[in-house]
């Protein structure tokens, strides 16, 4: 990196902030890079698991980027994917264990999906594309940013799925009981995985309507 000999960069310089906020919109891992779709389908039926999943993924992307970036000069390139996997898997198991120890009911809801963070393509993608070639602090921010970008979509999707599918938000009833008396019904379709895909599709559509530069030629 060219900054090595320059003056010390402030921790939240514009360039670093861009790493953090870029994935929220123009470089979103789900809607632009189309990564991590599989887990986005699985955990977005309700908002609470989606939120915990977001935090878990953020921690894993952030810290795996940090660790890999610290190790980047010593990692033999022939086994770099294995090294990355070991780091990611270790972090994921730690997160899972901590969830089981301190927020047991949420960990029960997320069940296997925490373990499946290991297979989330965003994490390996960021390790390969960013952490292997950048300094620890920008890598950490990049990881957190991508976790946030992933979470933003997860929470948006789960908002619509829980609202229309169950009539609740974070488990609290928001659709008034009187609606049901007039024949309103929760849409069972929203709970099924295909609707997550369609919701993500709609989000991509809306995003590209406002950000024309994202539209492929």
């Amino acid at each position: 990196m060219s900054t090595e000999n320059q003056e010390r960069e402030p921790l939240f310089s514009p360039k670093n902030m861009k790493l953090l906020t870029g994935p929220l919109n123009l470089n979103n891992p789900i809607t632009v890079q189309v990564l991590g779709i599989c887990s986005a389908l699985a955990v977005t039926a309700k908002m609470k698991p989606a939120l915990v999943m977001t935090i878990a993924v953020m921690i894993v992307t952030g810290f795996s980027n940090l660790v890999i970036s610290l190790l980047r000069k010593g990692i033999p390139s022939r086994i770099r994917i294995i090294v990355q996997l070991v780091v990611v898997a270790t972090l994921v198991i730690l997160v899972d264990q901590v969830l089981k120890a301190f927020v047991y009911d949420v960990s029960k809801q997320l069940s296997v999906f925490v373990g499946l963070i290991i297979t989330n393509c965003i994490i390996m993608g960021r390790l390969e594309a960013f952490a292997m070639g950048n300094k620890p602090w920008p890598s950490f921010l990049d990881g957190i940013g991508n976790g946030l970008g992933y979470g933003l979509i997860l929470i948006t999707v789960s908002f619509f799925r829980e609202l229309f599918g169950s009539g609740t938000l974070f488990g609290y009833q928001v659709v008034p009981q009187s609606f049901y008396h007039f024949g309103y019904e929760n849409n069972g379709m929203m709970i099924l995985p295909p609707m997550a895909l369609i919701t993500v599709g709609v989000i991509i559509w809306v995003q590209r309507y406002y950000k024309r530069e994202l539209i492929e030629k």
Partner: protein, 245 residues
């Protein structure tokens, strides 16, 4: 380029470090996790007995207060051990692994079963833990029966991985409350279990409706799982029930 020796050393050291870190975390967090699992079990038992206001913070005192006896029974319905001291989570019955016992039962090996006795408003409530299979993975639960075993006081269900919104709905009050007041024996004293009826209990002839509940629409296989779990587990307790009712 790195030499092969370097790669092997690197891999070995990394794996050992990761293993050490994870073992350390597992050992340190184990007491918390076991406590959570025990508390979760207690909440399930108390919830089936319709004891309200139990949170993860007050589950242990409530469990010690309401559960008066924990029994271990054998397949013939004899009481093998009974425990009425505190703390209740030290009882042999509480620490029985139902999954392992049901597995032994399936293999025709000797097994034992746990039974919890609660007391609420002077009435005895028997709570039977259950375990079965849903669509995607194991399901479990507790069923609380009145002192002469004829009426269901309440139920509790849990699952590992049923579809949220479909099979996962077995955990909702809407589904569980249907069981309250149903009976597991007919007028002649024959065991009927509680049937989870696809399409709703109005499909049953009226006299049988007291032994049935509505299945969850769109979750036929999970509903069948609940149906079989209740029937299969309660059957094992019949010898004890016959002796004590």
């Amino acid at each position: 380029m790195y030499s092969n020796g370097y790669i092997f050393r690197y891999a070995a050291i990394m794996v050992i470090l990761a293993a050490a870190l994870l073992s350390l975390a597992a050992v340190l967090l184990k007491p918390f996790q076991e406590r959570n699992i025990a508390i979760d079990k207690m909440q399930g038992i108390l919830s089936a007995a319709q004891i309200k206001g139990v949170t993860s913070e007050n589950a242990i005192p409530n469990f010690n207060k309401y559960i008066v006896e924990e029994l271990v029974i054998d397949p013939e319905g004899n009481v093998v051990s009974s425990y009425d001291k505190s703390p209740k989570q030290d009882a042999p019955a509480f620490n029985i692994d139902l999954k392992a016992e049901l597995y032994k039962q399936g293999k025709h090996k000797p097994y034992v079963l746990p039974l919890y006795v609660a007391e609420k408003n002077g009435q005895k409530i028997y709570i039977i833990p259950m375990r079965g299979v849903g669509l995607w993975g194991p399901i479990w639960g507790n069923i609380a029966l009145s002192s002469n075993f004829d009426k269901v006081i309440g139920v509790y269900f849990g699952d590992k991985s049923e579809t949220p919104g479909l099979g996962g709905e077995i955990k909702t009050p809407k589904f569980k409350n249907q069981f309250i007041g149903k009976t597991i024996f007919n007028k002649k004293g024959q065991f009927t279990s509680i049937e989870v009826v696809k399409g709703g209990i109005q499909k049953l002839p009226p006299p049988q409706r007291v032994h049935g509940v509505d299945a969850i629409a769109g979750a036929t296989l999970t509903s069948n799982g609940v149906n079989n779990m209740i029937k299969d587990v309660l059957k094992l307790y019949l010898p004890y029930i016959k002796k004590h009712s």
